[in-house]
Every structure is written in C-alpha cells, then in structure tokens.
C-alpha cells in the first residue's frame, strides 16, 4: 500500500512541477524587478528617481563585471571563488605601478588586467590541467592572492592616484560613470558570444554534459582555460575601476565579493549545475541585488535584517532553479 501511495504522490508532484510556468528567466526576473521597484516606490517615492537609478547602476558596475566572468564559469560547470581577492590584488598592483614606479596610468590598467588574467591562468592550470576541484583551487587562490595584496601593499592603502586613473573610475557621460557603459558593453558582447558563437554554444554543451562534449570533439580544456582567464581578467578590470572610483587602492577591497557575484548569477537564473542561464539574466541578477540592497535602506528596514533578506533571496533563487530543472527532467 505504501508503495502505491508513494507512486501516486510522486506522480502528483511531477504534475505540479510540470504545471509551473516555463517562462524565460530574464522575463520572470524583469517582471519581479518591476514589481519590487513599484513596491519600493510605493513605500518611498524617492526610490523612483534618476539618482537612485544611477546609484543602482554605479553599484552594479564593478560587481557586474565580475558577475560576467563568474557566469561564464558557472555555465561551464566551474566556479571561481578567488575573484574578490583578485579585485584587490589587481588594484594594488595597478596603483603601485603608477604611484611607486611612476608609470602612465594606462599601464596600470593593463597591469591590473594582466594580474587578473595571470591568476585566472593559475586557476586554469590547476583545475583543467592538474584536474583539481575548482572549488578548492580557487579557495586556495582566494587566500593566496589576498596574501599577495598584503605583501605588495605592506597592508596599507595606496592613495594619491593620478587624475587619469581617478577619471577612469569617476568620469561620467549623461550622469552615468564610464564603468556603467563599460559593463553594458561587456554584457552585450558576452551575451552575443554565448548565443551566437561556437564557443558559446560549446560552453553550454560542456556545462550540460562534459563527456558528451569531449566525445563531440569540443576542445574542453582550451575553452575552460579561456573562461578562467577571462574571469580573472574581468575581476582585474573591476579592481582598477573600483580603485579609480574611490581614489584609493586597499588590500581589503573586494572582500566577500565572490559571494555577492555568485548570488547575483544564481538569482539571474544561472544554474550551479552548469549548462544553463544567460549573460543578460546574470546582469539582471546583479541589478536585482543592488535594487534590493538600496531599496531596503530607502524604506528604512533595520540594517540588521538586510543580510536575512539577502540570504532568503539566494535560497529562493536556488529553489526556483531546482524546480525548473526538475520540471525540465519531467
């Protein structure tokens, strides 16, 4: 009897799951974003203003660049926990190049980019070529690059940045900083790459079923290596932009950013199990996180409760992802 009951229950559950609406994540997230914006505006009319929109985009700009790299890796069923420390290391190295070695600020940008890509290459070497788990490797490089930031900076902030570098972080066009336009360009390019190129389609194939991708002749190692390097490079770029924005490079900058970007990606519909999600969704996830953060402050929610709200958001996002996967399987 109990077996019959179990089977009936399972069938009922499957039917319930099948009945879940199968709308694209971006559409669902866009709708949810609209509802939340309306709700926050109803609670505090100043939420609906150009300055809040700018604040959301400015806050999303730095994290958003890192989200793009992380999303690429998550689609490939990999993960990079080192991005937070890469942000600080690249900022420290880039700013040392201009303040200590008096090199032009453009070289600082290239230096930061290079540092990020180098850490990404180390991650790739260990994950792809030595076949160590990405979670452990990137956790190791998270600590190691954090330590390097400390060694290079002597634990101190680097201030007195040149105007060019500060301008890169602070200059504006139509009220929005350069970093926002850069983020939009990077998201657009990444979205295009993932949807229109062989690399993008192969990335989904690798994340969905790596063995099948290998058998189909997809150069898996090369693609995953490129993804780690791209993730590191974007974190490096984010680091130097953040330093320019606040006018200081600090070895503590970027601490904890890895969790924020993973949350943003998952909220944006990127599956932790690989092979699913879009760059546009991840970008919306990054914006969504900032809208919630800023909105909760604006409506006057006790700031001790805000981490609770963020945690709940992540759990809901993962639950929705799991339900969607079950529905797909059913």
């Amino acid at each position: 009897m109990s077996t019959v009951h179990a089977t009936a229950e399972e069938q009922a559950r499957t039917v319930r799951v099948r009945r879940l609406p199968q709308v694209p994540v971006e559409v669902g997230l866009g709708a949810l974003l609209t509802v939340i914006v309306v709700m926050f505006t109803a609670l505090n009319s100043s939420f609906w203003s150009a300055s809040i929109l700018q604040a959301v985009l400015r806050a999303a700009a730095v994290a958003g660049l890192v989200v793009v790299g992380e999303t690429l890796l998550l689609i490939l069923k990999q993960i990079d926990l080192s991005v937070g420390s890469v942000v600080s290391l690249s900022a420290i190295v880039g700013c040392q190049l201009v303040t200590h070695y008096h090199l032009p600020w453009q070289l600082a940008v290239l230096g930061a980019l290079g540092v990020g890509m180098a850490v990404g290459a180390v991650n790739a070497l260990l994950v792809v070529w030595a076949r160590l788990p990405a979670l452990i490797v990137t956790l190791g490089t998270l600590y190691a690059t954090g330590g390097l930031s400390l060694v290079i900076s002597g634990g101190l902030q680097i201030s007195g940045l040149p105007e060019g570098l500060v301008g890169l972080g602070q200059s504006r066009l139509l009220g929005l900083p350069f970093a926002v336009y850069l983020l939009l360009a990077v998201v657009a390019v990444a979205h295009g790459v993932m949807n229109l190129t062989v690399f993008g389609k192969s990335a989904y194939a690798i994340g969905g079923n790596e063995r099948a991708a290998v058998r189909a002749g997809v150069p898996v190692r090369r693609y995953v290596t490129c993804a780690f390097i791209a993730s590191g490079g974007l974190a490096g770029l984010a680091g130097i932009l953040l330093a320019g924005r606040v006018g200081v490079a600090d070895p503590t900058q970027g601490q904890g950013l890895e969790l924020t970007v993973i949350t943003a990606a998952v909220v944006g519909g990127i599956s932790l199990f690989g092979g699913a999600g879009t760059m546009l969704g991840a970008f919306l996830g990054a914006v969504f996180i900032q809208v919630v953060t800023i909105g909760l402050v604006l409506v006057g929610l006790d700031s001790t409760l805000q981490p609770v709200a963020s945690g709940a958001l992540l759990i809901v996002a993962v639950a929705v992802d799991t339900l969607r996967r079950r529905a797909r399987r059913a």
């Binding site: 690059t145 060694v151 101190l156 898996v220 953040l242 606040v246 070895p251 006057g300």
Partner: protein, 355 residues
C-alpha cells in the same frame, strides 16, 4: 576531467602541488609577522603626543618575549596598531616581539595561532580582543602564568577572566565629541536637518559611540534629527550605494557620523556621486583619510589613539611581567581632528614609516 596519460598526469599534479604550496606560502594560511616585514622598524625617539620613554617597571625585560595578537593583518589601521605595540615593546626593552595575526576577521584562527605561540613560550601578550572568542585564550594564558593586556574595545572587569588591564579610546567620549563638532559646524552654517550614522557592523564599540553621538545631539542640538544607525559592511561599492540611498531618502540630510575606518573614502565618493555637501566625521588617521580632510571632502576624523594605546599596552605588559600594579581601565582620548590640525598625524605616520 579529460584523459591525460598517467606519467604526464603525475608531472602536472606535481607542478600543481608546487604551485599550490608556493601560493599558500604567499598568504593562504594565517601567518605570524615580526616587526621587520609588514610593520616598519622601531622609531628610536618616540614622543608621539607625549608618550613616556620609560615603563617604570621594577625588573628588566632582558630575555623576555612578547606577542601582539590581532585579526585583520591586512588592515591599514591594524598596521598602525601593530607598529605601536612593536615600538612600545622595543622601548620597554623586550628581547623579542612578534605580531601574531591572521588574515581577515578570522578570530578562531587568530586564537589558534596565539595558542601555538604560547606553547612555544612567551612572557607576555598584548591582544586586541575583538570579541569573547578571545576570552578562553586569555584565561589559558593566565593559567600558564602569562600576563595579558587588552586593547581597543573595552571589556567590563571580570568578563574576561585573567585580563590584567586594557587601553582603549573611549567610544562614549569620542561619540560625544563628534556630535559637538558636527553640531557646532551646522549651527555656524545655519543648517538644520537629518544626520546619518553609519557603522561597519553593530559591535559594542561602535554601538557605544553611536549611542553617545545620538544622545549628545539630542541634548545639545535638539533641532537636528539623528537617524537610526545603518550598517555599511566592508564592501566599498555596497557602502557607497547604501549611503547614496540615505542621501536620497532624506533630502534634508546635512551631516553624517561614520564609525568605520573606510567611512572617509566612502562618504567622499558618495558626496561626489550625489553632488551633496555634508558635514562628515569618520574614523582614523590613515593617510588617505587625512588627505580627504585636507582637501575638504570630509570635515574631520576621530583620531583614535591607535598607535598610542598599543605602545602603552606594551609598557603596561612590562610592568605586569614584573608583578608591578597595573590599572585595569585606561581610557584614552580620541580627539576630533579638523583640517587645521592634521600636521602631527602626518608626522606620526611618516615617522613610524606608514604612508
């Protein structure tokens, strides 16, 4: 993941292991640091705001070893604190001194490192006991006959068994001073409105400062409205976004008191982003913060006696090792430093080699 021949695989794994070890050596593990590497060499003639040159201890520190224990090895403020402890120990005549610190806010990891050092043999400990996590370590030291002096965040007597004394900036006093400075400035400018309070997190020290600020403002400048404190966390982007929200939500915002060391940088950026000029007082005389006061982006900083409290703690430790009496509570003043009074702090940072 992908098929590699056995021999090649072993080679790659060996290379990977070496790379991981090399990276780990760069900072994966919490590390101990001595005076030479991340804090500068001892300043020979210390008189940073009338500090004593002699401990008055009844015995010599020859052959004695002290350690300074803290979290946040990478934090610029901790660099200043550690330099104070190292310089104080050198002046007190200790044979060796070591900064035992972990990276990040890893309190259990720090306690483990300190416990290892204790097992290897130390004669005294100065500890920045940021939470009760450190209390068992203090009790263990007491049981081993190692005196412990605590810094920065005051602990009620008896709460941490074995603790002999503590040196700290009085948060109630500087919270009050910040309220008086902001209140006077707003009165002079004829401005009335809301005042924001930001904290890194809701720890007792910051809570006490925020409470004193609110109460003083309410008593002395009742026309100003102080908002409930908001936590900003450690991520600058997020902190700036939060501050921007506050500015937007309160169009009458005229000032802010921020109990975080990153407050000056964050508020300077927020003011640039929003185009609003506020009267901001925040924490600590790190060089970047002094620059912001100098440029007028920030009205003032709370000059916590970061260096001095640790220097004096090392002196008190010397006395404790000699079994000389040490006062338990030693609150120190933390003045509000405005644009015209920055020179001594630049000089201090320059002399202790922290730029």
């Amino acid at each position: 993941m992908i098929g590699i021949s056995g021999k090649r695989q072993r080679r790659v794994l060996a290379a990977a292991a070496i790379a991981v070890l090399a990276l780990s050596a760069c900072g994966a593990e919490p590390a101990t640091t001595t005076g030479g590497s991340t804090v500068g060499p001892s300043a020979s003639n210390v008189d940073y705001f009338n500090l004593p040159t002699s401990t008055g201890a009844s015995c010599s520190m020859r052959g004695k070893k002290m350690i300074f224990v803290s979290v946040l090895r990478e934090n610029p403020v901790l660099q200043i604190m550690a330099q104070g402890a190292i310089d104080g120990a050198k002046k007190a005549g200790f044979a060796s001194e070591q900064w035992v610190a972990s990276q990040g806010f890893d309190e259990p990891g720090t306690v483990t490192l300190a416990t290892q050092s204790m097992a290897q043999g130390v004669d005294g400990i100065v500890v920045l006991a940021s939470s009760p996590t450190f209390y068992p370590m203090i009790a263990r030291a007491k049981a081993m006959g190692i005196p412990v002096i605590q810094t920065h965040s005051p602990i009620a007597k008896g709460e941490a068994p074995g603790l002999l004394g503590q040196f700290y900036p009085d948060p109630t006093s500087y919270g009050k001073a910040a309220a008086e400075a902001i209140g006077a400035r707003l009165k002079k400018a004829g401005k009335t409105g809301s005042i924001a309070i930001m904290q890194t997190s809701f720890i007792p020290n910051e809570n006490a400062a925020a409470k004193a600020f609110t109460e003083t403002m309410k008593a002395e400048y009742p026309q100003q409205q102080v908002l409930a404190p908001v936590a900003e966390g450690g991520d600058s982007s997020k902190a700036i976004a939060t501050e921007t929200s506050l500015v937007q939500a309160h169009q009458d915002l005229v000032a802010a008191f921020d109990t975080s060391g990153n407050g000056p940088v964050n508020w300077a950026t927020t003011q640039k982003d929003t185009g609003r000029q506020l009267v901001v007082i925040s924490m600590d005389y790190a060089k970047a913060n002094l620059e912001l006061v100098k440029s007028g982006s920030i009205f003032g900083i709370v000059a916590q006696p970061l260096y001095q409290e640790h220097y004096l703690a090392a002196f008190a430790l010397a006395k404790a090792i000699c079994r000389d009496p040490v006062a338990y509570d030693n609150p120190l003043s933390a003045p509000i430093v405005e644009r015209t009074r920055l020179a001594p702090y630049y000089e201090l940072l320059s002399k202790v080699n922290i730029h």
